[in-house]
């Protein structure tokens, strides 16, 4: 892992789980595999602290463990999962748009706690929903459970690995062997859903007069369900990817085309498996049937749109055969490449201006060009073109290949070919994004630290006014308390708030770019 990525990991973890966890994680990231004792030695932290940190990391699915040949337990950190933590708000938002408020809270709870049992999630969600509604409306647990099942069925939530049922083994082994069968990954057992009443009844039924005490103890026992659930990040990524594609189509062609693509993606969701580069083929009729009626697009229009989409330069959809009125596929890899290219191009444009952008696009189009050719094709005076080109070369957006005519590599007898390597540029940009994201976090921390006293004061005043409101105090008293913050302080506070908002906003938007770059690189690896 690169240093900027490690730095970002550290900052993210520090913000979420405290400095101890962050430094343990970073030590682990440097080592790849590491046993407990060594970790405590390397990080210079107390053993108990390291243990605590590891527990937190394991709970949040960031660290896994395994036994090595010598019997030590080694811990492994998944740094990419740490980096994904910046995307949590987006996942929560996704859940909200797809399944509404209960789902939003379910996902939020799961993300906050890493792993949770169904019962706990449902309970906490209900609590929070009732709190939000101020008790005006009763939230039924069946509704929340239904949402949960929905999320599981659509693979947004999955089962955690759980220890083997082999009881004898468990007692002896120093670590549990965690596993989950792929069939069970997205299945909610009926037992969990029915709630625990049925189980309870069965148990207390066998004893003659179990008495209420007995039932109560039973309840506490059965609430310790062994099935834990967690958020399936890759499914969310798949959804975000699809969203990005639909958005791209909408901005390039029009809304109807976007709807057609959305219908196709929805169809492919069911058919294709997660890691597929190409969605399975579908006919126009299938797409038509899947398109919601309210758009009022006829079959002929869809055919035309299909043609349009497949003939577009970015080739959103490609035709694979003529059977069944034309079979179409969506090529994810190609599409993501197009998206990534667009991101890089816009980065070049915003960074170096439109003339550089022209040269860059020229290089993308023609692959390898000599300096002279660039000047000619871009129609930029030679001196300026050189300056622009070298600036991009300096910042590593453009790469150079030497092709010597003679074996002695004499510069006068060598072709210097400039080209753009998208893979390399996206890697470089990703690094910069990590760096920028880290900088943003540091800046935000710095701002809050500088103004800690003021922020604390505001918090206190808010708390006092809130408590006064509850007790029904005089409005004049309230005003008096509020006046404790002087006008200049107020101005400063709004300034801080504006600043942190802007910084966090940038973090989120930066994460969108990071997502596209990461997805592209992920697809580029799969061949």
């Amino acid at each position: 892992m690169s240093s900027s990525a490690t730095r970002l990991c550290f900052l993210i973890l520090k913000e979420r789980y405290g400095e101890v966890v962050a430094s343990v994680a970073c030590c682990l990231a440097k080592k790849n595999y590491c046993p407990l004792r060594m970790l405590s030695q390397d990080s210079g932290l107390k053993l108990d602290q390291v243990k605590k940190a590891l527990c937190t990391l394991i709970q949040h699915n960031l660290v896994t463990f395994q036994q090595n040949k010598k019997g030590f337990i080694e811990y492994v950190i998944h740094a990419e999962k740490v980096l994904q933590q910046t995307r949590f708000p987006r996942y929560i938002y996704c859940a909200k748009t797809l399944y509404g408020d209960p789902a939003e809270l379910i996902i939020e709870e799961l993300l906050q706690h890493g792993q949770m049992t169904l019962e706990k999630v449902v309970q906490r969600t209900i609590d929070r929903l009732t709190e939000a509604m101020e008790g005006k409306q009763n939230v039924s647990s069946t509704l929340v459970k239904e949402k949960f099942v929905n999320l599981v069925q659509t693979h947004f939530v999955q089962r955690c690995t759980s220890p083997d049922g082999n009881v004898e083994n468990k007692e002896v082994a120093s670590m549990p062997v965690l596993s989950v069968s792929p069939e069970e990954l997205y299945v909610v057992p009926k037992m969990e859903l029915d709630g625990f009443e049925s189980r309870k009844r069965k148990r207390s039924g066998e004893g003659s007069e179990a008495a209420s005490k007995r039932i109560k103890t039973d309840e506490s026992e059965s609430s310790e369900s062994s099935i834990f659930w967690r958020v399936n990040v890759s499914r969310f990524h798949q959804y975000l990817r699809d969203q990005a594609i639909v958005q791209a189509v909408a901005s390039k062609i029009d809304k109807n085309a976007a709807e057609v693509v959305r219908a196709m993606l929805r169809l492919s969701e069911v058919k294709t498996d997660e890691g597929a580069l190409v969605a399975s083929a579908m006919t126009v009729t299938e797409v038509f049937q899947n398109l919601p009626r309210e758009f009022g697009i006829s079959k002929q229009t869809i055919e035309q749109y299909m043609k349009l989409l497949s003939e577009d330069s970015s080739e959103f959809v490609s035709k694979v055969s003529d059977s069944g009125g034309g079979m179409y596929v969506i090529n994810f890899k190609k599409l993501i490449t197009v998206l990534c290219r667009a991101h890089i191009e816009s980065a070049v444009q915003e960074r170096f201006g439109s003339k550089c952008f022209r040269i860059f696009r020229l290089l993308l189009m023609k692959k390898n060009l000599e300096q002279k050719q660039i000047e000619e094709y871009a129609m930029i005076p030679s001196k300026e073109a050189k300056e622009l080109l070298y600036r991009m070369f300096e910042e590593k957006f453009v790469s150079l290949t030497e092709v010597p005519k003679t074996p002695d590599h004499a510069p006068s007898r060598t072709f210097y070919l400039f080209s753009v390597n998208i893979n390399q540029v996206s890697r470089m940009l990703l690094e910069r994004c990590y760096q920028a994201c880290g900088n943003l976090i540091i800046r935000r921390e710095h701002e809050t630290k500088e103004n800690r006293r003021l922020l604390d004061k505001q918090q206190r005043v808010d708390a006092i006014t809130a408590s006064m409101e509850q007790s029904g105090a005089d409005p004049s008293q309230k005003e008096e308390i509020e006046q404790m913050i002087t006008p200049p302080e107020k101005a400063q506070l709004t300034k801080i708030k504006h600043m942190t908002n802007k910084i966090e906003h940038s973090e989120l938007q930066l994460d969108d770019t990071i997502f596209i770059l990461q997805t592209y690189l992920q697809y580029a690896h799969m061949k």
Binding site: E15, R16, Y17, G18, E19, V20, V21, L36, K46, D48, Q49, K51, K52, A53, L54, C55, T56, I58, Q59, H60, F65, I73, F88, P89, R90, I92, Y93, E108, L111, Q112, H113, Q115, S162, P163, K170, S174, M175, P176, L178, E224, S226, F228, E350, R351, F352, G353, Q371, S382, K386, A410, P411, S412, N501, K502, E504, H505, S506, E507, L508, Q509
Partner: protein
């Protein structure tokens, strides 16, 4: 050798070891002056950054993010850094562990975590601190009496017959071990959980040390 000579000769002539034209400078064109200063610390910004996208969606996500950040800090998963030592290490520090944060504030399902991560709560430590001082004294005094008698006896015996010594030594060791075991048991009751605590099991009051030495000397005696 020849190569080096040629390079130097050329370099002296025009300042370049290759023709400048390949770089794109015309024949008569002046080369740019060498830069002797570091680039400015804050170069003027040529291109302003693009404004951030705004909208309801972004605002909502922003609120989500801020809320999430705030709640994460309050959850028990947040491990606070241990307080730094104020000035010097004190004797009493030893007895104040566990007051702060030796336990995990949340309850992991231990079926799913490696056992070694379990933090043993040292409640016993405090009781020990009260009880302990009287214990070793007793054993030491008791043992010392016994030992003195034993050693005297042994010395007598040894003086009489050196050959049988080895058997006795074994016995003696056993006895000693028994004595130590008594001690160990007493500790074990107090901290059954602390099986792995090496320091406690390895308790040596230093008595055996002199003894061994003596024995060694005696042992060595006959071999001369």
């Amino acid at each position: 050798m020849a190569g080096r000579g040629r390079g130097r000769g050329r370099g002296g002539g025009k300042g370049m070891s290759f023709s400048v034209e390949t770089l794109g400078f015309g024949r008569g064109e002046a080369l740019p002056a060498p830069t002797l200063q570091p680039p400015p610390l804050f170069p003027p910004l040529e291109f302003k950054p693009v404004a951030l996208t705004t909208g309801e969606e972004m605002d909502y996500i922003l609120a989500l993010k801020q809320e999430f950040r705030a709640t994460m800090k309050e959850l028990p998963y947040y491990v606070k850094a241990q307080e730094k030592k104020k000035d010097i290490e004190r004797y009493t520090d030893k007895y104040q562990t566990g007051q702060q944060d030796s336990s995990i504030n949340w309850e992991p399902d231990w079926k799913r975590f490696p056992k070694e991560l379990k933090i043993r709560v040292r409640k016993a430590a405090k009781i020990q601190a009260v009880v302990r001082p009287s214990l070793p004294k007793k054993t030491i005094s008791r043992k010392a009496d016994k030992d003195v008698l034993q050693t005297l006896e042994e010395l007598e015996k040894k003086a009489v017959e050196i050959d049988a010594e080895k058997d006795e030594e074994d016995e003696e060791e056993k006895k000693e071990e028994d004595g130590e075991q008594e001690e160990e048991e007493e500790y074990d009751e107090e901290d059954l959980e602390e099986e792995t605590d090496y320091n406690l099991n390895y308790f040596d009051n230093g008595e055996g040390y002199g003894m061994e030495d003596e024995d060694d000397n005696l042992d060595d005696g006959p071999t001369y």
